[in-house]
Symmetry: C2
Subunit: 196 residues, 2 copies
């Protein structure tokens, strides 16, 4: 007799908007009032979908990472496996940070005192790292043995490269052109290792 429960559909509708707000404003500045306003609803509507603001943020983090990974997977599938790492560097050098992943991660990094946020952040970074490492390993397999540090370390260094590139974009550290070269050239150096 009652109306059907559309809670989960509603969550899926609003999550992209909420995530966008967190990415753009950071955790603190994205107040529940602004989140609701951007969604075109009242605050209590959000509170019917998630228990509290933190849950909204954690859901946003997962959503943004999943979306980014999905895009990378699509790009990866567009060519032969061994060249994936190089093609992705190329792609990122042009579309860096479009999906708000780093912005959300940065926002989370200011809330590391909260064990739950901290934990989710750790999980996300680990997934990120694992994904990159797999590409580096595939690259190595094609190229033969690696001379420099193993794929694990290289993958972390690539994460660092992406991070500094995004920090740079965030605070206008360097022009877009240099940012693209940074990812492409330094990334290639890391990938190719000590080989000539």
């Amino acid at each position: 007799m009652p109306r059907p429960d559309r809670t989960s559909e509603r969550r899926e509708e609003l999550l992209p908007i909420v995530a966008e707000a967190f990415a753009r404003l950071g955790y603190r500045r994205a107040t529940t009032a602004t989140l609701a306003a951007r969604c075109g609803v009242r605050e209590n509507v959000l509170y019917r979908l998630w228990p509290d603001k933190k849950a909204m943020f954690l859901a946003s983090m997962r959503y943004v990472y999943d979306r980014a990974e999905r895009i990378w997977e699509e790009r990866a599938a567009e060519g032969p496996e061994g060249t994936t790492a190089r093609r992705l560097l190329e792609y990122e050098s042009r579309h860096l940070g479009e999906f708000g992943l780093y912005r959300i991660l940065f926002a989370g990094l200011s809330e590391t005192d909260d064990p739950e946020i901290r934990g989710h952040l750790r999980d996300t970074y680990r997934r990120f790292h694992r994904w990159i490492r797999r590409r580096v390993e595939a690259h190595d397999r094609l190229r033969g043995a690696r001379l420099g540090p193993e794929a694990d370390l290289i993958a972390w260094a690539v994460v660092g490269l992406g991070t500094v590139a995004n920090v740079g974009r965030e605070i206008d550290l360097f022009p877009a052109r240099l940012r693209a070269r940074l990812i492409a050239e330094a990334g290639r150096l890391l990938l190719e290792g000590g080989a000539p």
Copy 2:
């Protein structure tokens, strides 16, 4: 007839404590109440030394960076110039983040909507980069021409390396041992470029 003005001395006394609080707690969690409590004074005492909380934060950022650079300079002076870059990587791999530099920078990254904080952040990162670039160039001079990307890009990649290493420390991404190897080995790879 009045008492002598000890304002600037007092600032120098309290700034390290304030900076430590910002580094440890981040911008938002470091409330003016806790800042004052840690300094062993009342809030209005701090407000007599700085116009507002933001000024306290910016002063802290400058203080922490200056201190970190001073330490690096000391370490750099301890050996021949050409080996500085390598020795500093070695040093950082062991003492990473001890001075709270990255923590303050992360805290600032969540406040990038404020143009003043943003500007100071940019300045600090640029000083950081310039300092590293000089070491990379000195290293290159000793070693002969560079085969890979130029020193400018390499220096940014090294900043990224330090960043990811500090993120890792912040949220327990990997054990200290791997962190040290990350800095030492990936750093070395970046420094040596495509050379064998």
